[in-house]
Symmetry: C2
Subunit: 280 residues, 2 copies
């Protein structure tokens, strides 16, 4: 496996960083995960925009513009011969002196790596969910960026592992549903698609916005609303959005069966039609 | 500079970790910072206990017991000839596959490094503070551990840098004072020392507990209470506790002068007397 690190393509074993990289010391960085289909990263521009917005917020100056990064990403896919994969981009503040002040740490670290992708299926995968006991902070400005501070998500996902299920729902400190550990949540009710609003602390996933786009283009009404977890089992269907699999149907929540709707399969199909079209 | 990494002593330039270390990918780790005086790390046992409690919570199994780690720490101080310094210990979950699940990541990374310490002064240093606009989550179980998820602290400290002051106060999502970015907070009122309780989301610093110990031994009443930031300027004196400097007097908050009390110097002196005694 070849890894991109700060402008160089290296064998995985040589892709190393200083123990004083602030990404390692404090999680002082950002990342993106993109689905690569037919050698092309789906929705590159949207992912890079979110990365750049986060970098601006954290005042990390990426040494590479989006365009040159794209050239490197294409080369990485070619070198690894992985046209159907997941691309992770990490941008950390790079090495710095001890202490929280980012002052003087001005050589950021950029890593790109490819990972096996689950094969695209013909039906939406079906997952079981648990509700995590860990909460995300409400009204957290950092929530809108994909930062490298992911312990609440790791702990939630670990609870899913322990329960023998695929994903865990996270509530915020006010008790409203936010998202799952690495996917956004949607549910169906009264002919409408619903999803939690950014205000509850949602990380606005690129796949989430694609689902909203598809709904708009298909005249399926979509609305954002904050709900407590008790409401979810009363809906007519629940699904998750994530870059690796697109649309995943939620089958159970904490052991309780969820209603299933044919609309989930429709959205799954439209999502992958769009991916194949844009990555043709 | 020699760095300890997974059982080896290496020159700083060779102290490198994989870009797939989960500490770098997600901040999936813990750390401690100890003051070394006369070649001895002050309150080693308390720091290691907190590290071990955090590791248990995150289910990271440290490859080294506290005692063997202490042997390595002593050797590190000797090799670098830095008997008066700061020791940072980092424990991350180590390399893993992409994704939040910690499953299968079972070779943790352990790093120890020494850093210059501010010289011990004869008077408590005086710092200026600002109130950060970033909030810490209330009732966060992770708050009690020194994790490698430190973006709120980095952003707060960055606001202090911008304001040209030394530290930033952080409130929680309920509006109560929690602590400063890398120090605990105390204030004086009615002949009592006050500090926020763990319930507001305090990271219970080792130096904080030493201050409480000193108060108890000196018959100075100490109480824990949650207060909004408006109350702080009405107190009779404000100070911070942190391993590097012990006790620091707060001179101003957001540009407003704070009252000063001779008790701050008394606590500063007793703190350093204790350090010198235990590290003799």
């Amino acid at each position: 496996m070849i890894v991109f690190l700060n402008g160089r393509f290296l064998p995985e074993s040589d892709a190393v960083i200083s123990v004083f990289d602030r990404g390692f010391l404090y999680g002082d960085g950002l990342f993106e995960t993109l689905r690569v289909v037919n050698g092309k990263p789906f929705r590159w521009r949207e992912h890079i925009r979110r990365l750049q917005n986060g970098a601006e917020f954290l005042r990390i100056r990426s040494p590479f513009a989006g365009e040159s990064l794209r050239g490197f990403a294409d080369e990485l896919v070619r070198l690894n011969q992985m046209p159907d994969s997941l691309l992770r981009i990490t941008l950390s503040r790079g090495p710095g002196v001890r202490g929280y002040s980012p002052s003087g740490a001005d050589t950021p670290t950029v890593v790109m790596s490819l990972h096996p992708a689950p094969p695209v299926q013909t039906e939406p995968p079906g997952w079981h969910l648990v509700t995590s006991s860990f909460r995300l902070p409400a009204n957290e400005p950092l929530a809108q960026f994909k930062t490298c501070n992911k312990l609440p998500q790791i702990l939630a996902r670990s609870q899913a592992d322990t329960a023998g299920v695929q994903e865990a729902l996270l509530l915020n400190t006010d008790g409203f549903i936010v998202e799952a550990s690495s996917s956004n949540l949607f549910w169906l009710e009264d002919g409408c698609v619903w999803t939690p609003p950014p205000a509850v602390g949602v990380l606005p996933g690129v796949t989430r916005s694609v689902i909203m786009e598809i709904c708009a283009a298909s005249s399926i009404p979509i609305q954002q609303i904050a709900i407590p977890p008790e409401k979810l089992p009363l809906s007519e269907g629940v699904f998750l959005s994530l870059s690796s699999a697109g649309v995943v149907e939620a089958l159970t929540l904490d052991g309780t069966g969820l209603a299933r709707s044919p609309l989930v399969k429709t959205l799954f199909n439209r999502y992958w039609d769009l991916v194949r079209h844009e990555c043709r």
